[in-house]
Symmetry: C2
Subunit: 349 residues, 2 copies
């Protein structure tokens, strides 16, 4: 098993990507192909005492920057690290891919190099919400901002397969993120998706209100990419806000400071648990390969978690199961060809 790592992707690349690869090798014996500017990567490796067995460098001479229009950049920069890494999977020279780069670029590159799993109308980006021990998969979180009902039904199917295969959950509970419990609640999209999910063989647990997500009432939460992205970012923003308030309060008085010193390790652990990044990254679901996206600010620890997740996904049989699950389930006889080929939204996140 070898994981292709987009070593140039992310705010802290290549220092933290290289350090993360070394950690993954040491802690979990994961072989990693570092894809990027060979000279820089060798320099980073040298800081850690050289290149151990199981770590190799694959040269890529270009990089997709965070602020570039992703679809365009991926097409123009054929030697971009994300494209070269994706080609390794395509050729069977790597089993999975991890990138902390621009999510839109990763999706665009995956569609360009790997394509969609047969039957998938739109691939989705999932995120593991950090509220339960195993995590809750929420998808889509930004690949498709204007969705058709049939896409969300497939998100449910893909999410169910992912949680079953990668996390070993038998018949994962699939919920629809919605603004009320009753089946009549929600916007037009949510109402239509509710009735369609009821007709599938999924273990559909109905609507889940956003304030009940942390209670772990579902293993998979289906939503459109706009709402999903808002939900994930509100979670991050509120957690940041509360912990910064906490820091302020704890340093406001001397006796608070003393008490805070006692609590510091527990509070730090709590904070890190609330971090989406700690959960090993977000899978792209519906593309023809095991592709995981790490947070743009991923440090070595997060890269290590992501590499571990990528190797779990690659070894889980998730892709084969996905291929089987989606063939018979497509409900709309004729997929809207225009929508399926229109790639604008797929490249946003």
């Amino acid at each position: 098993m070898i994981i292709a790592l987009d070593a140039m992707g992310g705010d802290l690349a290549p220092a933290e990507t290289v350090a993360g690869a070394l950690l993954a090798k040491r802690e979990f014996d994961i072989d990693v192909a570092l894809v990027g500017a060979a000279a820089s990567l060798r320099q980073e490796l040298a800081k850690h005492g050289g290149t151990p067995a199981g770590i190799e460098i694959v040269e890529a001479t270009e990089v997709v920057e965070m602020d570039e229009p992703p679809a365009q950049a991926v097409r123009q920069k054929k030697q971009a690290s994300i494209n070269v890494a994706m080609s390794l999977i395509k050729a069977g020279d790597a089993d999975a891919l991890l990138s902390a780069g621009n999510t839109g670029a990763v999706m665009a590159s995956a569609l360009l190099k790997l394509g969609r799993v047969r039957g998938v109308e739109r691939p989705a980006i999932g995120a593991m919400a950090p509220f339960t021990e195993k995590g809750i998969l929420i998808l889509d979180i930004g690949a498709n901002v204007d969705c058709k009902p049939s896409w969300l039904v497939q998100f449910g199917q893909m999410g169910s397969v992912y949680m079953e295969k990668v996390f070993g959950i038998d018949q994962p509970r699939v919920g629809l993120l919605n603004i009320g419990e009753e089946d009549s609640k929600g916007n037009e999209l949510a109402q239509e998706v509710y009735s369609r999910l009821q007709e599938t063989s999924l273990r559909f647990v109905g609507n889940v209100e956003p304030d009940r997500v942390p209670l772990g009432v579902a293993d998979v939460l289906v939503t459109d990419g706009f709402t999903g992205n808002v939900a994930v970012k509100v979670t991050e923003g509120v957690a940041d806000f509360i912990f910064s308030q906490l820091r302020e309060v704890l340093s406001s008085r001397l006796h608070y400071k003393l008490a805070a010193a006692v609590l510091k390790p527990a509070l730090m652990e709590m904070r890190s648990k609330m971090d989406y990044g700690e959960y090993g990254g977000a899978p792209l679901l519906g593309v023809n390969g095991a592709v995981i996206v790490a947070h743009g600010r991923a440090d070595a620890q997060a890269i290590m978690s992501g590499l571990r997740r990528a190797s779990e996904v690659a070894g889980s049989g998730m892709l084969d199961a996905l291929r089987g699950a989606l063939q018979p389930a497509a409900r709309d006889g004729a997929i809207d060809a225009a929508a399926a080929t229109r790639s604008r939204d797929e490249t946003r996140a």
Copy 2:
């Protein structure tokens, strides 16, 4: 100045509504008309030593329950406390209204009894997000789950007037809740609203990503009612989750318990600050009256805050300013009459 209080509305009514009214009278000298079952209300008042001057009872023999279809219940139960309270405003016998009842029912009753401000396509429900000292008004949070661009532009105009008049903010900063900073980001609705907001005379500060909301980069955040409802409920769920985790951690070891005892007052203050309910309730904007909705779980303290907010709104000139602001601003020459009269979505929250 007298505020009509739907004394039967909310999970803790009438005990907490009556207690809240008494607090508001004592602390802020606010006169309150308690609308509801006179016998029950007298009983509650007796527990506090009787009915002080400035508190009066207005009989209403029916109640809209939390689980009733709101629009229907409001039409059928003509003597429902929310309808009787609304009639007090209509008749000029009260200056503002507060209810902790079903938000959909409050909106339906307001539309039925008061109607819309001339020029308003769709009234909205606003919530004060508890991240800054003055709070951030986010709207719509659930009255309109499928929105047209022109409605969101009006939400921005109404929100701007509200924050200027009620909170004294000169030229409030209006932002669009969106999943990216760049003007090309978002779903079709957000993209269209972005370009239309640029054409208004509002102080439009552009897109605000959900994780940046707590930083206070805008005074008013515009969004559709589905997304807004999700954002508010995610905030509540995440805050609940973090504080329950915190409680668990703090009681997990003896030395943590001792430290926690020192910190308890500070933590409790922090928790209550994070509570949407502490911010005095959510205004209905665009209806012909000053109407504030308190949280369904509002206790006496929250009712008191809500009554205070209601009296501030009534005394602020907000409604007159709204009437002036919306006339010239309507961009769509012909308002979609079908949409304007279709009341289905208006009664959800």
